[in-house]
């Protein structure tokens, strides 16, 4: 009876081991470091090697389409970063001036960012413009 439990244990260990292995492999392949524009410039050479995600607000009027590629600028707290989008997919519909853009890619030694993926989110109008009070009841 005990040996059956040992067999099940060994089976479980093999499964868990395999899953942990796949987890590590997937982590190496998929990880990307979330940085602010300010942190990017402080990272040194490290910044050019890792896959990085950087977020910012798309600067007004900065979006230029150059063939398949898109050049634009994002900003956060007065810091600016030029981004070149080289991905094959069209950018999301939410990507426009003033939207919050999340760019995934690599930081280049020339101080620009090459993004292969972009996610964008619109700021809600009312949350930004008006305060609220509790309804009286």
């Amino acid at each position: 009876m005990g040996s059956k439990n040992i067999k099940v244990m060994i089976g479980s260990l093999i499964i868990v081991g395999a899953i942990v292995y796949f987890g590590f492999a997937g982590y190496e392949e998929g990880r990307s470091y979330y940085k602010t524009i300010g942190e990017l410039s402080e990272m040194g050479d490290d910044a050019y090697e890792k896959r990085i995600r950087v977020a910012g607000i798309v600067s007004e009027g900065s979006i230029q389409r150059q063939g398949d590629e898109i050049l634009f600028q994002i900003e956060q707290d007065d810091l600016k970063l030029s981004v070149l989008y080289t991905g094959t997919r069209p950018v999301p519909d939410t990507f426009k001036d003033g939207a919050e853009a999340l760019c995934d890619g690599h930081y280049k030694p020339d101080g620009t960012f090459e993004a292969t993926q972009i996610q964008a989110k619109c700021a809600s109008k009312y949350e930004a413009e008006y305060g609220t009070t509790q309804a009286e009841s």
Binding site: G11, I15, G26, E29, G30, Y33, E127
Partner: protein, 676 residues
């Protein structure tokens, strides 16, 4: 008016829920039937008031009262009425009220259906359910009220002045899609439905009624919640596929993960309760699974409502995080304490006999479902963990999730075929031979043929091989059963087939669910062969993908009240033969100043031709993104099969119906004689 009414209703509901918790739990403890009865009435009362509150919000949404912040943020004048109603779950505060309404709905139904049941389990479970309702009512009433009014502070004025904008912001255009009207309610019904089995489990722990009674009581509830949750998740995928325009239906987004995690643990629970019923094993484990499912439901709501993990479709950052974290911590700790203090009641009766047995296949099933859930959880909160430990946020992205979950998924698929055919305790070599020899051989031959036909990729081939193998084992189970019936009862084929299912709905319904799983995996496998291309075309020009030619006939512009649009008319042909005209559309919504793409789709059993109007290029051509996605349609078909199978497992067996009728007759008889 309606806002005040809604708010007051929430306060009254809150008071009734508070009373219900005390009356039900205390009433059971001191065995006061009248107290329990009044607690049950309080359940109906708070359900009524939450309903009133929800209807006043719907009234505000439909009538366009933009002085209410929530109404202004999710609707606008020109939206069609069904989207105005759907806006109830289109934003933070409204969706939380909807959540509360569903918990109270479930509580009221459980109370009503068990109104004659004389067991401590039911009132205790109702008390626990009311506790959940109470928690959400606190959020609705005191933190995230959907009835807040807009106000503006003018320079020089003493205080904020009420303010109503001319028009609202409008529902996020991405959410203005027919699936949006049904996906959230179905998902929520499934998600929140997990509260029922959880509450009965905790009630069993509290009352020490730890026989299998609670499992029998919640089996159907768990299946209903599980089926709805699964259907809701896939509907969400369908919505993403049709509306987001990136050619896929699943992106491992935190919001998607939040709904997947409780589904995984609930699936494990559904399987391992069978072991408890048959063998009285895994009793602590089942408690852990259903409690985890509940905590993951609350955690998922927290994840999507607090903005802790950035997600494209999570709602705004908000301060309700602390409520959730405290609630999860307290509930988790209380449940752990309950399990530990009841350990002696939860002992198993038997032990494992063999590694090749039904028991151990269930064990492995549980192990991998939990591993998948843990991997998804880990990947989802990894940015938060790495920030806490290393001081930098690291996201793991789709490669991580795929790397782990593809092998796990394939192992689950394998178990789907093998597990149900293994014998309890120990399986003989003879029965292994009988059940698996032919499916193995036929699948192997089919696998070789697929390879020779040019199908490549290890996982893709393995997946197709397993789909065929598992499909054959299930088919042969049906064939054996039908043949036996035809021989024993002299029935015709179709009669034998329907009777086979009818007489044992649990078993054969389960097989049908498994068959749906195979079809869904077939659809997933298609991902390995996806193609995509981008082209810039104007009227008269064409582009190609695979063997398809897409010819642009014209591009038209126009607008309606809600949005302006560009539509490309594209004729699809293959080998010179015209197949279909597709009209991908690009919209620009006025109220939210946001664009969306309406995908045009040519879908058949083999592949989807998926055409997106991505934008307009500098030289005034339409930018068209085309995807060729094989087998996608099987994901939707498989889901329908799964839902049908689930419905069959829920329906009562003929024997059960007869038994119930007899009990009812006996009751009426005894009541008539004044014995009860």
């Amino acid at each position: 008016m309606a806002a005040n009414f809604g708010n007051i209703s929430l306060s009254v509901a809150f008071a009734f829920a508070l009373y219900a918790v005390f009356a039900l739990l205390l009433g059971t403890k001191v065995k006061r039937r009248d107290l329990i009865k009044s607690g049950e009435n309080a359940v109906y009362a708070y359900f009524t008031f939450v309903t009133l509150s929800m209807f006043s919000l719907i009234h505000l949404l439909v009538s366009g009262n933009f002085q209410i912040e929530y109404v202004a943020s999710v609707t606008n004048e020109s939206m069609p009425i069904y989207y105005k109603i759907a806006a109830l779950w289109g934003g933070q505060a409204g969706s939380l009220l909807f959540w509360t309404w569903i918990v109270s709905l479930y509580t009221a139904i459980v109370a009503y259906r068990n109104r004659h049941t004389r067991s401590d389990l039911v009132p205790t479970a109702l008390g626990i359910m009311s506790l959940t309702a109470l928690f959400f009512l606190v959020l609705n009433r005191f933190s995230e009220s959907p009835f807040n009014e807009l106000a503006i502070v003018h320079a020089g004025s003493a205080g904020p002045v009420p303010f109503a904008p001319q028009d609202g912001n409008g529902l996020n255009p991405l959410l203005q899609h027919p699936v949006m009207v049904i996906h959230p309610p179905i998902l929520y019904l499934g998600y929140v439905g997990m509260v029922v089995p959880f509450s009965f489990a905790v009630a069993a722990l509290i009352t020490k009624q730890l026989s299998n009674a609670w499992i029998t009581l919640v089996r159907r509830w768990t299946l209903i919640a599980w089926g709805l949750l699964g259907a809701g998740i896939i509907l969400g995928g369908k919505w993403a596929y049709m509306e987001l325009g990136w050619g896929g239906y699943w992106a491992w987004d935190p919001v998607e993960n939040a709904s997947l995690m409780p589904w995984l643990t609930a699936t494990a629970f559904l399987h391992s309760v069978i072991v408890q019923e048959k063998k009285n094993m895994l009793r602590v484990w089942n408690m852990v699974l259903i409690i985890s499912t509940y905590l993951l439901v609350i955690f998922g709501t927290f994840l999507t409502r607090s903005g802790i993990v950035s997600s494209v479709h999570a709602f705004a950052q908000s301060s309700i995080g602390i409520f959730f974290v405290s609630y999860i911590a307290i509930t988790g700790a209380a449940c752990l304490f309950l399990i530990f203090s009841r350990l002696e009641y939860l002992k198993s009766d038997s032990e494992l006999d063999s590694i090749v047995s039904r028991e151990s296949s269930f064990l492995f099933n549980n192990l991998v479902f939990l591993a998948a859930c843990f991997a998804v959880l880990w990947g989802t909160i990894f940015p938060v963990i790495s920030e806490a430990i290393q001081g930098e946020q690291i996201t793991v992205g789709a490669p991580f999730f795929n790397k782990i979950n593809i092998p796990i998924g394939l192992f689950i698929l394998f178990l789907t075929g093998v597990g149900p055919l293994l014998a309890w305790r120990k399986t003989s070599v003879r029965s292994l031979n009988k059940n698996f020899f032919w499916p193995l051989v036929v699948a192997l031959v089919a696998g070789v043929l697929l390879f020779l036909a040019g199908v490549r990729g290890f996982y893709a081939l393995l997946s197709l091989y397993l789909c065929i193998f598992v499909g054959l084992t299930i088919t042969s189970e049906f064939a054996r059963g039908v043949r036996a019936r035809m021989r024993a009862h002299g029935e015709q084929f179709h009669r034998a087939f329907t009777q086979l299912i009818n007489k044992n709905k649990r078993r054969y319904g389960g097989y049908i669910v498994h068959f749906g799983v195979i079809l869904i995996f077939l659809g997933f496998t298609g991902n390995a062969f996806n193609k995509e291309t981008q082209g810039r075309i104007k009227a008269g020009e064409s582009m190609t993908i695979g063997s398809y030619t897409l010819h642009c006939d014209n591009i038209e512009e126009g607008e309606d009240a809600n949005f302006s649009y560009l539509i490309a008319t594209i004729t699809v042909s293959k080998g010179g033969k015209t197949l279909q005209v597709l009209r991908p559309e690009k919209r620009f919504y006025f109220a939210s100043e946001q664009g969306t793409s309406e995908v045009a789709l040519r879908s058949n059993l083999v592949e989807d031709l998926y055409v997106v109007f991505a934008g307009v290029s500098d030289d005034e051509r339409a930018v068209i993104q085309v995807f060729l996605n094989p087998l996608v349609v099987w994901v939707w078909i498989g889901t329908i099969v799964m839902v049908l199978g689930t419905i069959i497992t829920i329906l009562p067996n003929p024997r059960e119906v007869r038994l119930r009728r007899r009990i009812r007759n006996l009751e009426t008889l005894l009541t008539a004689k004044g014995k009860i």
